[in-house]
């Protein structure tokens, strides 16, 4: 119970941390990113979106990044991208492997390709 409250508090603080400089920069001006996303997204409460950012930053931290790095990475994402990642980082593809495997696959694929393309 206590830890879940602590986590919530952490998220809120992170959200505020990420939020405050933006608020200062954008005072009074309606941002372009709000325009180009779907109209329904513009209605969504800002606090929820920034909680989403804090959430993703938290997840990135749990995957081996320090807090500063995680925040900088999240800052480069759009709201839509943050929504895409929130809660789903572990199930998403992460490009990593080298090409050793391709050789055998190439043999199979080449045979198939031969049928369609070289005929």
């Amino acid at each position: 119970m206590k830890s879940s409250w602590a986590r919530m508090l952490c998220r809120l603080l992170m959200a505020l941390m990420i939020w405050s400089p933006m608020q200062l920069a954008q005072a009074g001006m309606i941002g372009t990113d709000q325009l180009v996303t779907a109209p329904s997204a513009a209605d969504r409460t800002t606090v929820l979106e920034f909680l989403g950012r804090a959430d993703v930053a938290n997840q990135l931290q749990s995957l081996g990044l320090d807090a500063k790095n995680a925040n900088e990475r999240v800052a480069a994402m759009t709201d839509a991208e943050v929504q895409m990642l929130a809660g789903k980082i572990n199930s998403m593809p992460a490009g990593a492997d080298s090409t050793g495997v391709i050789i055998l696959l190439l043999l199979v694929g080449a045979a198939v390709w031969w049928i369609w393309f070289r005929r």
Partner: protein, 339 residues
């Protein structure tokens, strides 16, 4: 050291056994399904070369960053960024895209990290033809492949050329500077990642296959990431191609505003206000810009019009109007006190 050898040998034997099984299953499936569903786009491409594409091209000047273990993400991204003129190495990109616990890089982060270097990143439509068009236009393309037999095996490579007659694609991939793959093989491994492909171009360029709205969103994403200077260039380039796009004008004005060029912002917004006189955002941002220039008297009517126009941004418009009205009141109050 010696007792390390057997486990490794067993592991690689197991891996090979699993792999052979995978190849077998794959080949059987391919035979059963008659192959067509395995490479629908290759089949389509095989009919004829799409109009306007050269028979053969290779962007040989594209730099090559051989990847270290698991780090194809940074290597692939460095390749396209450097090709676009950014001075960066794969090592420098590791802290920006690599996730240690996942031993890889996420697609979203590949797109996001490019913005941190002032480039506009754009996810291509999932079409083989578009991939070829970008290469033909001189832009190397990052593709996500799945080289594993089962679920893992995600890999980023950079497509830099093709030969239509031979039906082959040339890629910078992993430790291979020039990996040549038949279209069909590439499609099979590419399809598994939903035909995911991205380009990252300098802000004064528009990709060959860019769609107006999605390209604008890509530029807005760069602006949001905090690079107003590059965003300004990108909006200007955008308006050169699509001059009637009001949202791009708003974006350009916002970039000017962020950079402190309030006069430029005003000029762009005034022009936009004549072509879109009911746009809440144009009116609101023009009012705010005039107010920031110290011209609250002039700003107030625009703020009033923004509120009257209604729509999803009404709350923001009301806030702008109230703060302008408040500034006017305190100014006149001050003047009266001086009398």
């Amino acid at each position: 050291m010696v007792d390390l050898v057997p486990p490794l040998a067993i592991r690689s034997a197991l891996k090979n056994a699993r792999f052979t099984a995978g190849v077998f299953i794959f080949a059987t499936l391919a035979a059963l399904s008659g192959c067509a569903s395995f490479m629908p786009q290759t089949k389509e491409l095989g009919k004829a070369l799409p109009a306007g594409l050269p028979e053969e091209i290779e962007l040989t000047a594209t730099p090559f960053f051989p990847q270290l273990e698991y780090q194809c993400g940074p290597a692939a991204l460095a390749t396209v960024l450097a090709a676009g003129g950014v001075k960066v190495t794969a090592d420098e990109l590791v802290p920006q895209v690599y996730l240690p616990e996942r031993k890889g890089s996420l697609q979203v982060e590949m797109l996001a990290a490019a913005r941190r270097h002032g480039m506009v990143s754009y996810q291509l439509a999932p079409r083989f033809e578009d991939l070829l068009r970008e290469i033909a236009d001189g832009t190397p393309v990052v593709v996500l492949q799945n080289l594993g037999m089962f679920s893992s095996g995600w890999h980023y490579a950079v497509a830099i050329g093709y030969n239509y007659e031979r039906g082959t694609l040339v890629l910078r991939s992993g430790t291979q500077e020039r990996d040549v793959l038949p279209f069909g093989v590439h499609e099979i491994v590419w399809m598994r990642g939903g035909y995911w492909a991205m380009v990252a171009v300098p802000p004064d360029k528009i990709p060959a296959t860019a769609d107006e709205n999605r390209w604008l969103a890509a530029v807005a994403a760069l602006e949001r990431a905090g690079d107003a200077r590059s965003a300004r260039t990108a909006y200007t380039t955008f308006l050169g191609r699509w001059p009637a796009n009001v949202n791009a004008s708003i974006g350009l004005a916002n970039a000017h505003h962020t950079l402190g060029d309030l006069g430029e912002a005003e000029a762009v917004l005034r022009k936009a206000a004549t072509s879109a006189p009911d746009s809440v955002v144009v009116l609101n941002n023009l009012a705010q810009t005039l107010s920031d220039l110290g011209r609250d008297q002039e700003a107030l009517p625009f703020a009033e019009r923004a509120v009257a126009a209604g729509g999803p941004f009404t709350a923001a418009a009301q806030k702008t109007r109230d703060s302008i009205a408040e500034r006017l009141r305190s100014k006149t109050g001050g003047v009266e006190r001086l009398k």
